[in-house]
C-alpha cells in the first residue's frame, strides 16, 4: 500500500510542478492545490499506514490497552490543510487582483517590477520614462 501511494505522490508532484512551471497564474493555482494535497498525502504515508484501533485510553487506565494508530500525522495534516486553505484563498485574491490590474495572467509579460528599460544591457543613462517604469502599454 505504501509503495502504491508513494507512486501516486510522485505522479502528483510531477504534475503539480509541470503546472507551476507553465508560466500561467491559473495553472499555477491548480499546481499549488495539487502539490498541497500531494504533501498532505506524503505526511500521511510517512506516519505509517495501519489498521489499528483509535488512540483512545480507557477511563481507568494511564496507557492504551492495545497498540493504537498514530494520531500525530493526522493532526499535522489538519494544521497543514488549514494553513494551506488560508494561503490558497489569499493567492486567489492576489492573482485576481493582479489580473485586474495588469490585464494578464501570463507571467512572462509581467514586467512592472523589472522594466526592460532598466535592465543592464538596455541601460544607457537615459531611460525613456522618467521613472524607468514603463506605462501599461509598454508591458504588453
Amino acid at each position: 500500500m505504501e509503495t502504491a501511494l508513494a507512486f501516486v505522490i510522485g505522479i502528483i508532484a510531477a504534475a503539480s510542478i509541470y503546472l507551476m512551471l507553465s508560466g500561467n497564474l491559473i495553472r499555477f493555482i491548480f499546481g499549488l492545490v495539487l502539490a498541497t494535497n500531494g504533501v498532505n498525502l506524503l505526511i500521511f504515508v510517512s506516519g505509517r499506514l495501519s489498521q489499528m484501533s483509535p488512540p483512545l485510553i480507557p477511563e481507568d487506565a494511564a496507557v492504551p490497552a492495545e497498540p493504537v494508530a498514530n494520531a500525530l500525522p493526522q493532526a499535522l495534516i489538519l494544521t497543514a490543510i488549514v494553513i494551506g486553505f488560508a494561503l490558497l484563498s489569499f493567492v486567489f485574491i492576489l492573482f485576481y487582483r493582479t489580473y485586474q490590474s495588469l490585464g494578464t495572467v501570463n507571467t512572462e509579460s509581467m514586467r512592472m517590477a523589472e522594466p526592460r528599460a532598466s535592465l543592464p544591457e538596455a541601460w544607457d543613462g537615459r531611460s525613456q520614462n522618467p521613472d524607468g517604469h514603463p506605462s501599461p502599454e509598454d508591458a504588453s
Binding site: I43, T79, L94, S101, M110, M112
Partner: protein, 500 residues
C-alpha cells in the same frame, strides 16, 4: 521553565490586535505601534539578560513535557536574533509614522507589521520543527500582505513572484518535516538531535537534509535560489523594504544554522561542503548582480544576497570561530541593511526617485543624511573600524585557519566589489551635482528637509553600527557564546529535555 521566553512572541500579537481594533484611527495606530515596539524591545532585552546570565531558557507550552509538547527554547543565537528584530521593529515603527500614509494604515499596515515581528520571533524561539513551519507561515502571510499593500502595479507583479516561489519553498519544507517525522518519530529539535544519531540509513537522511537545505535556501536567497528577491524587494514603501530586507532572509539563514548545527550533523563533509560551494557562489553572484544595476534599492537587494553568502559561509566552515563570525555577521548585517533601505527611502523622499541617474546633490543639500549613509554603506563594504570590518575579518580568519583559502579569498574580493557598489551609490546619489539644478547652489535652500521621524531611526541605527564597530568586544563575546552552544548541541538538548 520560564514564561519570560514567550513574551517576545506574544507581545507583537497583542499590539497587532490593538491596532486592528483601531483600524480607522491611523494616528493612534502609529502611536500604539511605536509603544508596542518599545515594549517588545523591553521584553527582548529582559530575555537577553536572562539568557546571558543563566544560560539557555526553555518553556514547555501547556506544560506538556518535551518532546511531546511544543517547546520554546532561547539560547544565545535566538536572543541575539530577537534583540536585533526588536530594534529593527522599533526603528521601522517610528519611520512608518512619517513614511506610511493614512490610507495604508487603514488598510492594515500596523497589524501586519507586528504579526510579522511576532512570527519572526516565534521562528527564532521555537524548539519544534512543525512549529517552525507554522511560524514561517505566519511570517510569510504577513510579508505577503505588507509587500502588496497599496496595490501598485509593480508591487502586485513583484508580490506574485514572491508568493509563488515562497509557497513552493514552504511545500518543500513541510515535505521534509513529514519525511523526517516518518524516519525518527519525533519533531522536537532536541529529540531529533538524538534520534538522528540512531538512524542507519544515512543516504535517506542526506536526501531529507537536501530538501531542508533547498527550502531554507530559497527563503534565505542562496545561490541559485535567490531570483525572487531582487524582483520584489524594491517595490513596496521603503519601511516595508527595510523590515523585509532586515528580517526575512535572515530567518532562512537562522533556520539553516539551527538545523545544520543541531540535527543534520551526521556527515559534515557532505552537507557543509555543499553549503560552502553555495555560499561562495552566492557571495560572488550577488555582488556582481549589484554592480549591473542603477536603481538604489535594486543594488541593495542584490547586496542582501551577497551578504547572505557570508553568513552561510560561517555555517559552512563549521568551526567555533566561523560560527561566531556568522552570528556577528547576522547582528551587523540586519542593522546595516535595514538602515540602508530606510536611507534609500529618505533620499527618494527628497529627490523623488530611486533611480541613481535622477538622484544627486544630496551631499550639498543634506550633509547629515550623507554622513548617515556613509556609516552603514561602508560598514557593509567592510571598512575598518565599522562593524562590517570585524564581521568579515572573523570569517576570513576562520577560513584561513582551516585552509579554506578559496572561501577566504572570495570573502575579501567580494568585500572590495561591495565597496565599488557603495561608492557608486555615494558618487551618484550624494556627490555628483543634482541633475535638475546643475551646481547652481540653490539646492540647499530649495531641498525639502527630511522628516525628523524618518531621520531619527536612521540616526539611531547608524549610531548602533558605530558602537558595534568601535566596541566589538561585548558583541563578539555574545557571538562566541552562541557559537559555543552551536558547536556543543548537547547543551541545547540538555536544556530542552531536562528532567525527562
Amino acid at each position: 521553565m520560564s514564561s519570560i521566553v514567550a513574551f517576545p512572541v506574544i507581545l507583537p500579537f497583542g499590539v497587532a490586535a490593538a491596532t486592528l481594533w483601531l483600524r480607522n484611527a491611523p494616528h493612534w495606530q502609529a502611536r500604539i505601534g511605536i509603544l508596542g515596539s518599545l515594549l517588545h524591545l523591553a521584553a527582548a532585552a529582559a530575555l537577553f539578560r536572562r539568557v546571558t546570565q543563566s544560560g539557555i531558557q526553555t518553556m514547555q507550552v501547556g506544560d506538556w513535557a518535551a518532546p511531546f509538547g511544543i517547546t520554546l527554547a532561547a539560547d544565545h543565537l535566538s536572543v541575539v536574533m530577537i534583540m536585533v528584530t526588536a530594534v529593527l521593529g522599533l526603528a521601522v515603527a517610528v519611520y512608518s509614522r512619517a513614511e506610511i500614509g493614512p490610507e495604508l494604515f487603514r488598510a492594515g499596515y500596523c497589524p501586519l507589521l507586528h504579526i510579522l515581528l511576532g512570527g519572526v520571533c516565534g521562528a527564532f524561539l521555537t524548539g519544534d520543527l512543525f512549529n517552525l513551519y507554522v511560524w514561517f507561515e505566519v511570517m510569510l502571510m504577513a510579508s505577503f500582505g505588507l509587500l502588496v499593500l497599496g496595490q501598485e502595479k509593480r508591487q502586485l507583479d513583484g508580490g506574485v513572484k514572491y508568493v509563488m516561489i515562497n509557497l513552493f519553498a514552504t511545500l518543500l519544507f513541510i515535505s521534509g518535516v513529514g519525511l523526517l517525522y516518518g524516519m525518527t518519530g519525533t519533531l522536537n529539535l532536541a529529540d531529533l538531535h538524538l534520534a538522528v544519531q540512531e538512524l542507519e540509513n544515512e543516504a535517506l537522511l542526506a536526501a531529507v537534509a537536501a530538501i531542508f537545505m533547498t527550502a531554507f535556501g530559497i527563503k534565505a536567497g542562496v545561490f541559485p535560489l535567490f531570483f525572487w528577491l531582487p524582483v520584489s524587494y524594491h517595490t513596496p514603501p521603503a519601511a516595508v523594504s527595510a523590515i523585509l530586507a532586515g528580517l526575512l532572509t535572515k530567518v532562512g539563514v537562522y533556520a539553516l544554522i539551527r538545523l545544520f548545527s543541531l540535527v543534520f550533523i551526521f556527515d559534515v563533509a557532505l552537507t557543509h561542503g555543499l553549503l560552502l560551494g553555495a555560499a561562495i557562489a552566492t557571495m560572488v553572484t550577488g555582488v556582481l548582480g549589484a554592480a549591473a544595476f542603477n536603481e538604489f534599492r535594486r543594488i541593495l537587494s542584490f547586496h542582501i544576497i551577497s551578504q547572505v553568502g557570508y553568513m552561510v559561509l560561517g555555517l559552512a566552515l563549521f568551526t567555533p570561530l566561523a560560527l561566531a563570525g556568522a552570528v556577528f555577521y547576522l547582528l551587523h548585517h540586519m542593522i546595516v541593511k535595514a538602515n540602508l533601505f530606510l536611507i534609500s527611502g529618505l533620499s527618494a523622499r527628497i529627490s523623488g526617485s530611486y533611480e541613481l541617474g535622477r538622484l544627486g546633490g544630496l551631499y550639498r543639500s543634506h550633509r547629515f543624511l550623507s554622513l548617515l549613509f556613509f556609516i552603514p554603506a561602508f560598514s557593509l563594504a567592510g571598512f575598518p573600524p565599522l562593524s562590517g570590518f570585524w564581521a568579515k575579518l572573523i570569517l576570513v580568519r576562520a577560513g584561513l585557519e582551516i585552509g579554506a583559502y578559496v572561501a577566504a579569498a572570495a570573502a575579501v574580493i567580494v568585500g572590495l566589489l561591495t565597496a565599488y557598489s557603495m561608492s557608486k551609490i555615494w558618487s551618484e546619489a550624494f556627490w555628483k551635482p543634482s541633475p535638475g539644478s546643475a551646481g547652481s547652489g540653490e539646492d540647499r535652500r530649495t531641498a525639502p528637509s527630511p522628516d525628523i521621524w524618518m531621520l531619527l531611526p536612521v540616526a539611531g541605527l547608524a549610531a548602533l553600527t558605530l558602537i558595534i564597530g568601535l566596541m566589538p568586544g561585548p558583541f563578539l563575546e555574545v557571538a562566541e557564546r552562541a557559537a559555543h552552544e552551536l558547536t556543543h548541541p548537547q547543551m541545547y538538548v540538555n536544556a530542552v529535555l531536562e528532567g525527562r
